[in-house]
Amino acid sequence: MSTASHTTDHGHDHDHDHGPARGLSRWILTTNHKDIGTLYLLFSLAMFFVGGAMALVIRAELFEPGLQVVDPHFFNQMTTLHALVMIFGAVMPAFVGLANWLIPMMVGAPDMALPRMNNWSFWIMPFAFTLLLSTLFMPGGGPAGGWTLYPPLVLQTGSAFPFVILAVHMMGASSIMGAINIIATILNLRAPGMTLMKMPLFVWTWLITAFLLIAVMPVLAGTVTMLLTDKFFGTSFFNAAGGGDPVMFQHIFWFFGHPEVYIMILPAFGVISQIIPTFARKPLFGYASMVYATASIAFLSFIVWAHHMFTVGMPLAGELFFMYATMLIAVPTGVKVFNWVSTMWRGAMTFETPMLFAIAFVILFTIGGFSGLMLAIAPADFQYHDTYFVVAHFHYVLVPGAVFSIMAAAYYWLPKWTGHMYNEKLGKLHFWLSVIGVNVLFFPQHFLGLAGMPRRIPDYALQFTEFNMVSTVGAFLFGFSQLFFLYNVIQTIRGGAKATDQVWEGAEGLEWTLSSPPPYHTFTTAPEIK
């Protein structure tokens, strides 16, 4: 070790002496998994509010039939960007942030396997979103053809088009590098004795998620590249006149798109599987079956993509295959729900905020799973496709599913990260407002969809008014309740009652053996695993 710039060099006796660098450069140059985790989480929080504001524009416009708040083109930009921001900017980075903070601590590693690439993965994100969101101010506005980017519609986008495609490329690069880092960390940096089947479930679900990411993000990159060349270089991938097919885009897109939804839910399964045992004060029921269920879900997610395309025109054999394959996913998913419930069965339960969010997750995610099952029935989907029923379905799995799990994780590990307890009363208030808000917001959308209200439309027939009004009220309730979360997080970072090392009475795992907050460099030597 010869150069003078060794800020993270560790000698023998002063392992924990090296704190972080000071000022802004700490955050820009950091290779520390905790710093990078924090950056990811804060970025995700910011995007959650940006995407949330867009959602409120959508719901404000849909409060009444007719056009009142925004013009239809802007409405379409909002639906498109809301989805892109929430998926790539809020949910995915939140889980990567959790992975960064937790996986090294959970497996007894000193840091992520490739710390510099880790910095790169993060910092690409704000720049990618600058590119994406700048399109709102361009001639022709932002992308407005839906987050699924279907041609030929998306090819009519104005100046925004290449910006959107290249922003997607950047996000993809970031995700792939993040995933490679996570896989390498899990496979290579586990402390001696931390066998695969001893890993906490959060680590397992992330291992499998990282595999999914590396497998499908390049496919997204490939297909958006085809869009780009179709628009600018005269190729005919999605042009029937040249022998291509717009439907081909849908196949390639959903080959990415369906695994992508599991990328957003598997880490959530992991979080919930950490939290429920703690507050039920019982070990997780069926650990091994959880691992196998996660792996089966990941496998199945590669062979169900065309359930998004039942109405587009497919041979009958295709419709049947994708229908049954999709239904099969309900089996491993059911195993998981069963295991969570069994973990709680006869447990000595307490209901702190993380547990409340986790229980709401189990119930409300299951509702989303059931509506998914309804959509999986091809003949029924002919009716539901592109209606608000689909919107209700994916919001149940994504908001009280993925997002609630992120909230639960934030409350659960915040004391560990900051060394302070959050305000429990405020947390509970946030929970109850959120859980009521989210159901008022999304439950009526099932009825709207079954009654035939199409999605991605700024105006609607009169008979849909009441349910839309209810839904909008729920949206504003849910949206503004998140300010309590923001306030609580800020207050917890700044101060509060000291957290103990274990924080939660029933918490088990390596991260709870460390001080709260843990030292800047956690394990400089490998910990003992029992």
């Binding site: 720049f127 496919v219 005919s236």
Partner: protein, 290 residues
């Protein structure tokens, strides 16, 4: 090769570096420049971004090479690099898979359907293009890009296949040289591999010129031109990158880097080259031949 100051039970964590943030800014400049150019703007930003990326690569890889030569990296770090490279190559495989998927889909579904096969094509075929007969290669019912002749597999493409396959062999030979500490064999093998790579690229450039001028086969020649040029083009790009990496390995070998025990950079380059090789076999079979 654990450094003396490193107690073996201590983890090694690389130090902080400026390169990642410089890489981010370079990438951003490149993307911003690309989008600007596509929208009809100037190419300055794109070229700047490109230059920045090159500087970043020199700087970042240079740092890593220096650190590695100092023996800073532990065995564990070495394994992390291995996992990293392996999964990176897997992601590249999936990128090509998207384009192969497009080729297979067009050949098995969209083109036959446009020709009226099965109930799917009946309407499109009957209403829009009843005169179209499905065949491969095709530029579609509207004859997009005009008449063209397809690329014949048993001329240059077959020679290129031989070239790439032999380059795989010379590279393995070089690797044996490295392991057996036979320096001349290492250097000769690497130089031959790079030379074969360059030869491959020159022949491909010639083939492209031939396609555009003599065969009237262009990127705009319907679905055949699209899949042909995008697949072979991305492959060619990867050969270029691979050849540059191997050239760097050659210079490093000349500089006396690598030991029979520790030469992961060389192995990574070799993995990458073999991956590019395998992709070519897929291309030769499915794009040129069948």
């Amino acid at each position: 090769m654990t450094h003396a100051e490193h107690a073996p039970d201590h983890y090694y964590v690389p130090t902080q570096s400026h390169w990642p943030i410089i890489a981010t800014i370079s990438l951003f400049t490149l993307m911003l420049g690309g989008a600007t150019l596509l929208n009809g703007g100037s190419s300055t930003l794109l070229l700047t971004g490109f230059a920045l990326i090159l500087i970043t690569m020199f700087g970042w890889f240079g740092t890593v090479v220096r650190e590695s030569e100092k023996g800073l990296y532990s065995d564990q770090m070495d394994r992390s690099f291995r996992w990293g490279m392996g999964w990176f190559i897997f992601s590249e495989v999936m990128f090509f898979a998207a384009f192969f998927g497009a080729l297979f889909y067009a050949r098995t579904y969209s083109v036959p359907w446009l020709g009226g096969e099965t109930s799917h094509g009946v309407l499109t075929h009957g209403l829009l293009w009843s005169g179209y007969e499905a065949a491969w290669p095709t530029n579609g019912p509207s004859d997009i890009g005009g008449f063209f002749a397809p690329m014949h597999p048993w001329g240059l493409p077959a020679i290129n296949t031989l070239i790439l396959l032999s380059s795989g062999a010379t590279l393995t030979w070089a690797h044996w040289g490295l392991i057996e500490q036979n320096r001349p064999q290492l250097l000769k093998g690497l130089a031959a591999t790079v030379a074969l790579g360059v030869l491959f690229l020159s022949l491909q450039a010639y083939e492209y010129a031939h396609a555009y001028h003599a065969l009237h086969l262009t990127l705009g020649s319907g679905i055949y031109g699209s899949t042909f040029f995008m697949l072979t083009g991305f492959h060619g790009l990867h050969v270029t990158i691979g050849a540059i990496i191997l050239a760097v390995m050659l210079f490093r070998s000349l500089a006396g880097h690598f030991t029979p025990q520790r030469h992961f950079a060389f192995e990574a380059a070799a993995w990458y080259w073999h991956f590019v090789d395998v992709v070519w076999l897929g291309l030769f079979i499915f794009v040129y031949w069948l």
